[in-house]
Symmetry: C2
């Protein structure tokens, strides 16, 4: 008997009670097997009420990123059709990279409550308290050249902003190319990595970290969580589901070369466009005015000497205008 | 007692005999332990003569890519300081990729006598009979952006051509970007793969396959081995060593941005420059005259309408001029 069979019965009957007798008959297992499953689900954090004569009722699901909870009623075609969920691991990107190397299908996802070696761009650390935020990596297999992969970072940032908006009503912004900001504080980030030949990608792993329910003291300075932004806790499961659905929609646009809307969105959500910036690209410093992001996802910077620079990735510092 | 201790003694004494007594005293092990090692070395294919009263003499080393043989007197600083040698495995590139992910140092090499799933560019198969040719992958960690990695392919092709020239006196050519040709037949190829973020490479794996001692019937049509080119067998160990030395020299030039000579060499060795070609780049067909290879390793093609195209990677077909 699979654990989620009992769980599925309880879910379907969420408004009322279901007797152990009914469950055991429908699943064709003993009453004691049902009772053991109920105990096991409770051990995982499911609140299951038991009333004599009435039976069992699912009163609450745990705030845990269980693969089964994320999959339930997810409704996507390929993103998240396979989900592996960890309590703790070194890095979800590394785990998803391993899946990629072993031939896992596009859309496979790795979630973890905690990362022992969480990474941001350029090998920097990504710290996140256990069980409070969202950390996931998605495996993609686009027929792209390596230089096209920067669009996947921006696309994922756009999907994340839209998922946050759907759940909270708040519109956050994208600090080009890979960070999600609320005002001047970081709420999330994207880390895109790939395995590639020179002219084509073998696979891409997109890592997403969003500060969801963490408190200020649990986060690095300069960070903010969605809970702080909205004043209330957010269901990480609902957020994860909305994010996967949004990624699927946006990624299909990108793959089908039908990305006009997406390109408008990454420009609309951009906090970098229109600002004075200093960009550091492989050690080179470029200071100027960020004029916008093009169709390839590249940032254009007009230097003070009038020269236009086009950069595909780099560290960006937003400068305040001189008159502020 | 490590196996290569007895071997090292025998090597040092290659011109004369060494008594079992001497070896056992110097290594501080029993006569019977020495005898067991001799048997074990013979099992690996080492020819060890034994003369009553005189002792042992190393008469021949096996034609096997043993790590210890390649390392012996290699003299490089970092390329091949760690060598892992297989009798058979799926793919040396995959094995070297795994080393890269687990933090192995730059220069680690994987050799194999045979690949069960040998690959060429774009997932095509790379077939090579067991024990006749050279198949290796080298792990590199350049501080490069992904777009710079195409230079590593060309550099490796140049190193391979130079190593072949040193060993055989024959100058083969490079069919841009990654194949080694003798006249119109393929003698080898390079497969470069990387793990990367958008703006920097995590690591690069360069796979090299060269047809060394295989006979025509052992190779795919359109292929040729160095043995066919030169009319004689070539020591694969000597070739492997020369190749690793040459890669180290050329790679250091590339890393130190001191690549003027290299750029001249990849143009000099190019069989593609000056030919009419059809290039296929991610499904797009470009026909024209290949004018040359630039500093970034990109091929320039002048289309018949006069338009210049610059391509970083792709499939190239050399066309014969109309008057031939």
């Amino acid at each position: 008997m699979k654990e989620n069979n009992v769980l599925d019965f309880l879910r379907a009957q969420q408004s009322g009670y279901l007797s152990g007798e009914d469950i055991s008959q429908k699943l064709k297992v003993s009453r004691s097997a049902v009772w053991k499953e109920i105990q096991s689900l409770r051990g995982l954090g499911y609140e299951i009420e038991a009333q004599p004569h009435w039976g069992y009722r699912l009163a609450g699901i745990p705030d845990k990123l269980f693969a089964d909870e994320i999959s339930h009623a997810l409704g996507t075609k390929f993103i998240g059709r396979r989900i592996i969920s960890y309590d703790s691991l070194d890095s979800t990107n590394d785990a998803a990279f391993g899946l990629g190397e072993h031939g896992a299908k596009e859309g496979a996802c790795v979630f973890s409550e905690f990362q022992k070696k969480g990474r941001g761009r350029l090998g920097r650390s990504w710290a996140s308290p256990k069980g409070k935020n969202l950390i996931l990596s998605v495996l993609l297999r686009p027929l792209f050249s390596p230089s096209e992969v920067s669009k996947i970072t921006l696309m994922t940032a756009v999907s994340t902003v839209k998922a946050i908006k759907t759940l909270t009503g708040k519109t956050l912004g994208i600090k080009w190319p890979n960070d999600i900001y609320f005002k001047d504080k970081k709420a999330g980030g994207i880390l895109t990595e790939m395995s590639a030949e020179l002219d084509r990608v073998n696979f891409v792993v997109v890592g997403i970290g969003v500060n969801v329910n963490s408190s200020p003291k649990e986060l690095p300075p300069g960070s903010i969580s969605l809970k702080e932004v909205t004043g209330k806790e957010i269901s990480r499961i609902s957020f994860a589901q909305e994010l996967l659905r949004q990624i699927e929609k946006d990624y299909l646009k990108l793959k089908n070369r039908d990305a006009a809307n997406l390109e408008k969105e990454w420009e609309d959500f951009s906090l970098t466009s229109g600002k004075r910036v200093v960009a550091t690209v492989l050690g080179r410093r470029i200071q100027g005015y960020a004029t916008g992001i093009d169709k390839e996802g590249a940032l254009w910077i007009r230097r003070d000497n009038g020269l236009q620079e086009r950069i595909f990735a780099g560290d960006i510092e937003h400068l305040r205008p001189a008159h502020e």
